[in-house]
């Protein structure tokens, strides 16, 4: 059986006030507590000065700079010695630079029998019109193989450091996208015109590496820059259709394995004085100079993939 209480009586009870407070009809602090707007932290200048003065005093008391002569002497000597060391280093470097031979002289020690041989017989032995590429990918191809592996190892390190195992919330990805100009018309129009040109230029640099300036590394870097521009303009959705982690893995694996196989063949034939089956061709044609074209393509694939992978790892931690 419930009692019927008049409304005015009910309003005085605790349960009525509690239910009102719970439903938020009345702010209990309104009119009771003084409200102040939160101001940004600011300190009067005198207070800051006194604080820094106090810190100075504390430091003086702890280290006892005025009384302790050793500490004082050390701090002075440290500064003097560091300045002296730097001056000595500067003088040494300037002195040794002044002994370097002038640029582009015929009598320089760079012009020894090695470079003479490269210049005189490079075209005959490698078949490459561009002597630099002939040197890099034929005489010193082993070094270039090492360089490609260094790039690959660098990507692996970046992967280990920056990779995120789990995909985080969808929101965070969206917010990551908000930092970029999302579907920016200017960028997209520019990219639509520029990206094909950049790609063609990069492929040209790679394929004509043995005929003109360029080669696998520079061409690969240009293609990688083009890919990054494309990604910036159109977002991850479009690039993930043709390039993700698996593609990169197989690309680098294939290119490095191809490079190693081609080079071990030429080392094998060279070390055993066997004539190589691969013809050098007529210098100046694209299909000439033996293995150099293939090696250029391999290096280009590795470098372009690495550039793009670096960008993706930095940006998203995954690709």
């Amino acid at each position: 059986m419930s009692r019927k209480v008049p409304e005015e009586d009910y309003k005085k009870t605790l349960s009525y006030r509690f239910s009102r407070w719970l439903s938020g009809e009345k702010d209990p602090y309104l009119g009771e507590v003084e409200m102040k707007k939160l101001l940004p932290f600011s300190e009067p200048r005198e207070l800051t000065l006194s604080h820094s003065k106090q810190q100075q005093e504390v430091r003086e008391q702890v280290y006892d700079i005025k009384e302790n002569k050793e500490v004082k002497g050390f701090s002075i000597a440290y500064r003097i010695v560091s300045v002296l060391v730097l001056l000595f280093l500067l003088a040494m470097l300037l002195y040794s630079v002044s002994y370097l031979p002038p640029y582009g002289e015929a009598a320089n020690p760079v012009n020894n029998e090695v470079s003479e041989r490269y210049i005189e017989k490079g075209l005959q032995e490698t078949g490459a019109v561009n002597i630099v590429t002939g040197m890099i990918l034929d005489y010193r191809a082993f070094d270039t193989l090492g360089e490609s592996h260094v790039l690959f190892i660098a990507t692996c390190t970046v992967l280990i450091l920056l990779r995120r195992e789990k995909r985080r919330d969808h929101e965070e990805e969206l917010s990551d996208r908000t930092h970029e100009p999302k579907n920016d018309v200017i960028l997209q129009t520019a990219a639509r015109v520029l990206v094909p040109l950049i790609m063609i230029f990069g492929i040209y640099i790679i394929l004509f590496g043995h005929l003109g300036p360029g080669g696998g590394f520079s061409g690969g870097a240009v293609i990688g820059a083009g890919l990054i521009l494309y990604l910036n303009a159109f977002g991850f959705e479009k690039t993930e259709k043709f390039f993700h982690a698996k593609t990169y893995k197989w690309m680098s694996f294939g290119a490095l394995a191809c490079y190693s196989a081609a080079k071990s063949y030429s080392f094998y034939t060279g070390a055993n004085h066997i004539e190589s089956v691969i013809p050098l061709g007529t210098p100046g044609a694209i299909l000439s100079s033996g293995l150099i074209l293939l090696l250029n393509i391999c290096v280009g694939v590795v470098v372009s993939g690495t550039m793009y992978a670096f960008y993706c790892m930095f940006r998203k931690g995954d690709f």
Binding site: H179, S218, A221
Partner: protein, 98 residues
């Protein structure tokens, strides 16, 4: 050496000094990028176009982009919009309390 090369070398030195002395990280990156561009022109002038292509693509292009992303990740570049919206919401709250 022509006057043009002297101008380029002078600009290179100025860029190198300014990059280390500028206080904002974003400015440092942009100065570093212009340093790379000048360097690539100098590579062409001393007759090594291979290096010029690589310097322009890697030094001015990819490295700068990587630096910019890193700056964004450590939140050295802040979004102006975000701060505005925060300030706006604070004002609204203050009005509500009044």
């Amino acid at each position: 050496m022509t006057i043009f090369e002297y101008i380029l070398f002078f600009f290179l030195i100025i860029c190198a000094i300014a990059a280390s002395f500028s206080k904002k990280l974003l400015n440092t990156i942009l100065i570093f990028m212009s340093y790379s561009l000048v360097m690539s022109i100098i590579w062409i002038l001393i007759e090594s176009p291979d290096l010029a292509i690589t310097e322009a693509a890697v030094g001015a292009g990819v490295t700068t982009v990587l630096f910019l992303i890193t700056l964004k990740k450590i939140e050295a570049i802040r979004e102006p919009q975000k701060e505005e919206t925060l300030a706006g919401s604070e004002e609204k709250e203050a009005k509500l309390h009044e």
